[in-house]
């Protein structure tokens, strides 16, 4: 564990040094990612400007939902998105060879070797939106609620990570995994705008169990607004555990199946 933390620190240091080699390359993403986020927010405002309620949630709760989804997405963008996204290419090109011969988990190395400080403003903006959402709902929030919210955000970030790794693990088994990434994008786009509370029937099954993007921001918000029932919490815990297990199995199976590429 201590070794892993030292390796993570070294990877982050190296990444910062790498990014700082180019000044525009380092500062540019702060501006670009921030601008994209504002555009996304404007689209959301335009869509929901005339809608009073979405499912059982009012405007304030929806703002909390958007802020929470953005926060989870922003953490993903800052920490592991770019590293994990490179898995299919590394598998196809045989670059994975170099990861497999080093005495450190290849997945750990891949997850932390391309951290992206350019997305940090997204985290800050998401926090501002969440604060605004809390203000809008007029809730009184205690330390326990905040801790519970952070716990669920952490757990759902893990679920998000699991989904991302799973989608990329397909490249170990199939030559082309581009469609999986498109599926991921489509699900994210939908679930970023609609909370899990609006899904019923087969859609609930799909977005809360099969492709659980629907619970990722819904559960933390439910815990924040006091709607998180034991059943919801248990469901979220089970889904996260199951998907973490599947991700580990898929990754290990993928590595075993890896045939490298001819040189």
């Amino acid at each position: 564990m201590r070794k892993n933390i030292r390796v993570i620190k070294a990877l982050i240091r190296l990444r910062f040094q790498n990014l700082m080699t180019f000044r525009i390359g380092f500062f540019g993403p702060f501006l670009v990612d921030g601008s994209l986020f504002v555009v996304q927010l404007m689209i959301f405002s335009a869509v929901y400007a005339n809608v009073e309620r979405i499912g059982s949630w009012g405007h304030g709760q929806m703002i909390l939902y958007i802020g929470t989804f953005s926060l989870i997405n922003a953490v993903n963008m800052v920490v592991y998105f770019f590293g994990i996204s490179s898995i299919p290419w590394k598998v196809k090109s045989g670059e994975m060879d170099l990861y497999l011969t080093k005495p450190v988990s290849p997945l750990l190395r891949l997850s932390f070797e391309r951290v992206n400080p350019g997305s940090i403003p997204l985290v800050l903006m998401s926090l501002v939106i969440i604060a605004y959402g809390v203000h809008k709902t007029g809730m009184e929030i205690g330390a326990g609620t905040v801790l519970s919210y952070l716990f669920w955000v952490g757990l759902m970030t893990l679920l998000y990570y699991d989904m991302e790794v799973m989608m990329r693990c397909v490249s170990f088994f199939l030559v082309s995994s581009a469609k999986m990434e498109q599926l991921e994008e489509a699900c994210l786009e939908l679930c970023m705008q609609l909370p899990g509370t609006v899904f019923y029937g087969v859609y609930k099954l799909i977005f809360c169990c099969v492709l659980p993007y629907g619970i990722m921001a819904t559960v933390p918000v439910k815990s924040l607004v006091g709607e998180c029932t034991p059943g919801t919490a248990l469901h979220a815990l089970i889904v996260t555990c199951v998907f973490t297990g599947i991700t580990c199995a898929l990754w290990k199976g993928g590595i075993r199946r890896y045939n490298s590429a001819s040189s």
Binding site: L11, D97, N259
Partner: protein, 315 residues
């Protein structure tokens, strides 16, 4: 298995399955419904033992199975059948304890960070291999001095020449003091001077540090200069395993005599079997040549002969 051997494989085989698509759109449609695969045996029943401290050359034409063999020995891929043990481990178990004991350098894949300096890059490998600070400093200085790259440790890797980069790849690989070093085409693309330097360093590492080295190369100069023992593979099978000099002695069948004269024809080249060289020279002296040089068979010709004849004998 023989415990004295650092590498031991018995009947090691790797078979790949590859999709065969028939020509054209019709073939593509057929492929959608019924797939046809062919099995390609990349490594075929190879038994190989390497003792600690040996410098072994692995040669063979493109597609012979050299790289696949290295990948199985390092655990990157699992064998289809046969047994394999490296430093007492089954490589594909991918145990970290095993990975700390070997290093691999692939001439066509870099583990350097192009935008960073070597000193920055080495810090990551220090953490990955858990090298204590004092030991890390000593190793870094030793190798920087040995490879003559002290002045290049603080410049961006991308600004280095190919030869300098390969030296850096070797430093990364050797930093943690591996017992076995697998080198897959380390001199590929290098000019004669850089190749010679790399050969010199590898020889020193093998002799001074006792590092066992398994080297694959298309350049026979590398093999002849470094390896006491050579393994020749072709079509996945081992066709020769023995002394490098014996191999060359056996297949270097001809000598090329080049003579220059003061009068026409001024220059003459003849190739004669090496057992007739004395007679040929004696005869040539009667024409009062200005100068005579005697050269070995061209290395490419020897390699071709090795593959052809060993394969015929094994058939």
């Amino acid at each position: 298995m023989n415990t004295q051997n650092i590498i031991d494989t018995q009947n090691l085989t790797k078979i790949y399955r590859r999709f065969q698509k028939k020509e054209g759109l019709r073939g593509s449609l057929q492929g959608l419904i019924k797939r046809e695969y062919e099995e390609k045996t990349a490594v075929n029943s190879v038994s190989l033992s390497v003792k600690a401290g040996e410098f072994v050359g692995l040669i063979g034409p493109n597609g012979a199975g050299k790289t696949t063999l290295i990948k199985m020995l390092t655990g990157i891929i699992a064998p289809t059948s046969g047994s394999i043990e490296v430093l007492g481990y089954y490589p594909n178990d991918m145990k970290n304890a095993f990975k700390k004991k070997y290093a691999v350098v692939m001439g066509q894949k870099s583990q350097l960070f192009m935008e960073l300096t070597m000193n920055d890059t080495l810090r990551l490998f220090k953490e990955i291999y858990e090298i204590p600070e004092a030991e890390y400093q000593a190793s870094r200085e030793y190798f920087a001095q040995l490879f003559g790259v002290e002045a290049l440790m603080n410049v961006q890797v991308r600004t280095l020449s190919l030869g300098e980069r390969m030296k850096m790849e070797l430093i990364v690989a050797l930093l943690h003091g591996p017992q076995v070093l697998f080198l897959d085409e380390p001199t590929i693309g290098l000019d004669a001077v850089a190749s010679k330097q790399i050969r010199k360093f590898l020889k020193e590492i093998n002799e001074e540090r006792g590092t066992t080295i398994l080297l694959t190369s298309h350049y026979m100069e590398d093999i002849r200069a470094l390896c006491g023992r050579t393994v020749v593979v072709n079509h996945g099978s081992k066709i020769y395993d023995g002394g490098t000099e014996e191999l060359f002695e056996k297949y270097q069948k001809n000598k090329k005599i080049t003579a220059t004269f003061d009068r026409p024809p001024y220059r003459r080249e003849v190739e004669v079997p090496k057992e007739h060289i004395k007679d040929a020279l004696h005869e040539l002296m009667q024409y009062e040549p200005k100068d005579i040089t005697v050269a070995e068979d061209e290395i490419g010709v020897v390699v071709e002969r090795i593959y052809r004849e060993e394969e015929r004998q094994n058939a």
